[in-house]
Every structure is written in C-alpha cells, then in structure tokens.
C-alpha cells in the first residue's frame, strides 16, 4: 500500500522527466539556430566593412596583392583571394570543422563561414569570413547538464511540497480518522469532528456524523427495548410465581398435580433469572453503579465462596484457593461482587460432580478454573446466550455480564482450556 499523495507524485515526476528530456533537442535547435543567424549577421558585417574600406582606400593592384598576401597570413579568419570567375556570385553560408587557421591552436573547431565575391578596382575577389562556433556535442552536453540539474531541483521541490501539502491538507482527514478509531458504540457518545475549510472533508465529516448519530440512536433504542421488555416482564412473572405459590397451598391438590407444579417451577425460575440478568446488563451498560471504592479482592472471594458453600458441597466440589497475595481494586463493590459471583457460579454450574475449582491470584490477575470435558468456543463465549442451552441452569448471560463489567473498568478477561480445566483469567 502506498500513500495517496505518492501516487500523483510518481506520475508528476515521470511526466516532468519526459517533458524535460524532449526539451533537450528543442533547446539545442533553438540555440543553434540563434547562433547561426547571429554569426551570419556578424560575418556579413565584417564582409561589408572589408569591402567598404577597400573601396575607400583606392589601393593599386600590385600593392593590393602584397597586402592580401600579408592579410591572409595575419588574418586567417577572413581570406581575400582573386577569383577566376567572370561574373559575381550571390553570397552563401556554410559550416565546416577544421583546425583553427591561427597558429598554436591544434584542436578541431566548428566554424560558420560566409563566402562572398567583391570587386576591387574592377577585379573580382573571393572573400571568405569564418567565425568560430560552439560544437554540436558541446552545446548538447551543456543543455543536458542544465536540464538534468533543473530536473533534480524539480523532484526535490516535488518531494518537499508533497510533504508540506500532505501535512497541512490532510490534517483534518487524519483528525477524523483518529476520532473514528477511538469511537466506541457501546459508550454511546457521539463524535464531534473539527471544523475544516476543505469542502470534501467537511462533507465527509458531516456524513460520518450522521452515520454515527444514527447508529447510536439505533443502538440506544435496542438497549431501551431490552430494558423495557424485561421491566414489563417483571410483574407478570411475579403474578405467575404468586399464583403457583397459592396453588401449592391448595389442600385438594393431588401428588401428580404437585409434581407438575414443581416441574413448572424450574422454567419459571429460569425466566426470572434471565430477566434479572438482562436488567442487570442494561444497568451496567447505562453506567449505573457509579460509586467506586478500594476493595480487597481476597475478602470478596472468600465472602462469595462462603455464600456458595451449600452449592459447592451439594456437588461435592473441592475448592483449592491460593490467595496468598493481596490484591486491591478500585471499583464499584456491587459490580465486583457480581463479577466474582458469576465467575464462581459458572465454575459450580458447569463443573462435574466431585470436580475441582481453583482460585488463584498472581500479580494483578485472578484465575478461576473448574473441571470440564471439552473446550468452549472462545470467540462466542462472551456473547449473550452464546453457550446457553435448555439443559443447563445457565442464563446465558453470566459471561456477558462479566465481560461488560471488565469493559467498564478496562480489565482483561481471557478463557483457556488446559488439562481438563476451563479457566477464566481477569487481569485487573
């Protein structure tokens, strides 16, 4: 995955490279063309100067010949020789490469020349003016070097600008992303995005805001529904229990009827249990149980153990406690009691007859293990009604409540199955 801004950056760089590469021959042609034009003009001016001064000075032919001899020797850049042609010819230009005519310079140079015919004293002379011009390769090289230099500058500029722009322009986007990452639906707290002057991001923020608000509202509705539903169930349940109680007191009741009545008692107890737990979950989720205090965990564990003693002995379960260490927790007392209760109740209900329960402290963790046969599905374990079945006394909510309490205080709850032991570890 590459960053969003790096994609156009790559394309821009390649485009700049192509354009700059194409510009090298174009620059060369333009520079060469200007060179040639300027030199032709320059040669023309020299020619005209020579022609004029000869015309003005009125030199004799013999004297002229000796002057020309010396002239051609001393000024090899412009040669004047008598021509055999009978009539004058139009001026022409040419480009040659040869060793410089001046003595002492042995390198081959490029020259721009003008070939012209002038008449002095009625006689036709051939005038050649040559001026040094930069070689093709040298021009090309200079242009390429300069272009490359600019290309490097361009790329460096791109990188710097890209970084700067990315930092500035994408800041609101990163802010939004941060807020989304830390959003927690169960907290039911809407997200307030920072205002931005970039239209697209503002639009994104507004859409997200709407989406989040809608989600929270739906979530809250669902929660309220569950809460209300379980509240509404309370009274009919109370009436049902009450009627069963009265029926039990009936003197004319047969033993068969009384057995049916007892059989009904269990499912009714189970509905009551589920309902109570649903209400409890709703209360925890609604952030009730706000008061916190410093509580010694060992005490709570011992009290709970005491409370559950009847159920433990009824199943002939052995409880092994290693609570040597002190562990104090700051939280709501009721919630902590519910947490420990549920952990231990779970360990009793899902235990085998004559099984074992181990309660251990180590560091800031509490582990409650109990004898079991097969591992549970770790993924769904803490979901509501995930492990519930009509065969067990479980309300299917015990672990969900544990999880909810742990979430409230940022504690970790983990499940493991080892050596035929289900173990739940809470890290405080």
């Amino acid at each position: 995955m590459s960053k969003l801004l790096n994609k156009p950056f790559k394309a821009f760089t390649i485009y700049a490279l192509i354009i700059l590469a194409c510009s090298i021959p174009v620059y060369y042609w333009v520079v060469d063309f200007i060179w040639m034009n300027e030199l032709d003009e320059h040669n023309q001016i020299i020619k005209e100067g020579i022609e004029n001064s000869f015309k003005k000075s009125q030199i004799e032919e013999t004297e002229l010949n000796s002057i020309l001899k010396n002239w051609n020797k001393l000024q090899p850049g412009s040669t004047l020789t008598p021509s055999n042609l009978s009539a004058t010819k139009a001026d022409s230009t040419y480009t040659v490469e040869h060793i410089s005519a001046y003595p002492g310079d042995e390198t081959i140079d490029r020259f721009r020349g003008l070939s012209s015919y002038i008449s002095i004293n009625g006689k036709l002379y051939h005038l050649q003016v040559e001026t040094n011009v930069e070689e093709t390769a040298e021009t090309m090289l200079a242009i390429t070097v300069v272009t490359l230099l600019f290309f490097v500058l361009l790329v460096i500029g791109f990188i710097v600008l890209n970084k700067q722009i990315a930092k500035k322009i994408w800041q609101p986007f990163r802010n939004t992303l941060e807020k989304l990452k830390s959003f927690d639906l169960t907290a039911r707290q809407t997200v307030l995005f920072d205002k931005t002057d970039i239209e697209e991001f503002e639009e994104l923020n507004q859409s997200l805001q709407k989406l989040i608000d809608k989600n929270i509202s739906v979530y809250t509705q669902q929660k309220t529904f569950i809460e209300n539903a379980s509240h509404e169930l309370q009274t009919p349940l109370a009436v049902l229990k009450s009627k069963m109680n009265l029926l039990l007191q009936n003197k004319d009741i047969t033993s068969e009827q009384s057995e049916i009545l007892s059989a009904v008692e269990l499912p009714v107890a189970r509905i009551t249990r589920i309902n109570k737990n649903l209400l409890l979950l709703a209360k925890i989720e609604n952030s009730q149980f706000a008061e916190v205090e410093n509580i010694e965990l060992t005490e709570v564990v011992n009290e709970t153990n005491e409370l559950l003693n009847d159920y433990i002995t009824a199943k002939q379960i052995t409880v092994v406690k290693s609570l040597s260490q002190k562990l104090s927790v700051v939280c709501n007392k009721t919630l902590l009691e519910i947490l420990i209760n549920n952990l231990l109740i779970n360990a009793i209900v899902h235990n085998t007859r004559e099984g074992v329960i181990q309660v251990e402290f180590s560091g800031r963790t509490l582990t409650v293990s109990n004898t079991g046969k097969t591992a549970l599905n770790n993924e769904k374990l803490f979901e509501r009604f995930a492990v519930s079945s009509s065969q067990t006394a479980s309300s299917g909510l015990g672990l969900a409540i544990i999880k909810e309490i742990c979430n409230r205080y940022g504690w970790q709850i983990q499940y493991a199955f080892q050596n035929n032991l289900h173990s739940f570890t809470v890290t405080f």
Binding site: H231, Q234, T235, L237, A238, V239, L240, K241, S242, K243, N245, L246, L248, Q249, S255, S258, E259, L261, S262, E265, L266, A269, R270, T272, R273, K276, L279, L280, K283, Q288, F289, L307, L308, D310, Y311, T313, A314, K315, T334, N341, I345, I348, V349, T392, A393, S395, G398
Partner: protein, 224 residues
Amino acid sequence: MKILIVEDEKELVEDIAKYLSGENYLCEVATTYEQAAEKIWVYDYDCILLDLMLPGGSGLQLLELLKKQNKQDGVIIISAQNSVEDKVKGLQMGADDYLEKPFHHSELAARVHSLIRRKQFNSSNIIQQNEIMIDLLGKNVKVNDVELSLTKKEFELLLLFTGNKNRVISKAAIAEHISGDIADMFDNYDFVYAHVKNLKKKLAEAGCDNYLKTIYGTGYKWEI
C-alpha cells in the same frame, strides 16, 4: 394485626392478602398512591408492604408522609426496580426491609412475621410454638427448656417454617431464604434437603414433636 398492602397489580395484591390472611393478619389493600396516602393518614398499621412504582406517585413519597406524621408503622418495600440506589434510599428513609419482586410468599410472610415481632416486642422478642421457644434477639432455640445447638442456617430455616404455619414451602423458596439472590442462579436445591434433615434430627433428639412434614416432590410444611 393489621397489614396494608400498597401495590398496583391487582392479582398480586389479592394473592398476598390471601396468603397473609391465613396467618391471622388483617389485610387491607391500596392500589393507588391516593388510596394509600389516605389509609396511612387515617389508620395505623403494624406493617405496610410498599411498592415503589404506583399510579399517582412513588412509594418513596409515602415513606416521607409516614415520617412527617411520626408514624411507627413497619415498612417492607416490595419492588420490581431491583436497583441498589432505591434500596439504599428506601432504607435510609425509614423502611425496615426490602424485598425484590418476584418473591416467594413464604419469604414475605417470614419477613412480615419477624418485622412485627421486632416492632411489638422490643425487649423480649420470643416466639413460642408449643414446646418450641425461639429467642429472636439471642438467636437461640429451646425445646422443653433444653437449648438446641443450631447452625445459623438451621436457625433461619426454623424461622421460615414457624412464620409459615401450615403452608407448603417450596424448595426454591427455602433455598432463596437461606442463600438469598444467589439461589436464583441455580437449578439445584439438593442442599436444602441436607439442612432440613439436620434441623429435623436436632428437633427430634430434643423431644420435639414432628411438625416438619415433607411434601413429596415439592417442599416442606410446618404443621401445627
């Protein structure tokens, strides 16, 4: 002895009244806040069973009313709210006990019984049933003047039975009486049998008549 039941669910009110009437209580009923306020104003009750959510007002307001009038009526809150806050608030405002709905009638009867005892006999709080004498304050039991050594749970059990004479008490109700809310979380009440058996044995050894009858498959009954 007069009891006022303040509860808006008619069915529930009737059942409670019916159950408690058998215990020689005179039950009156109020189903709205207005009715309850009026009755509290005019009469004195030994015990008031108070629901917190009422048409026309809250049970907590009635508690305030009682306090203003300096009434000494015993109050047991019966509420479906199941909120710790309400419980604490109610008890702070002068209620004597708090029972969560749904509850077993036997549990309610036992609580009413012990509340009335507490209110009436402040110093010598003793329940006498034939040869059995229970001292609520001293928490001891004598049969024919011989003291029994009962565990705390057996003592609680005996109170439940004596507070529900000639009534069938289900095992679930007994379990809840002994271990409270936690009993809700279990389907198995086997331990009830063990406690009842021990109590029975201790009573018999002290020469007590066998009042405690087992009702097959359902529970127990204190026949007297």
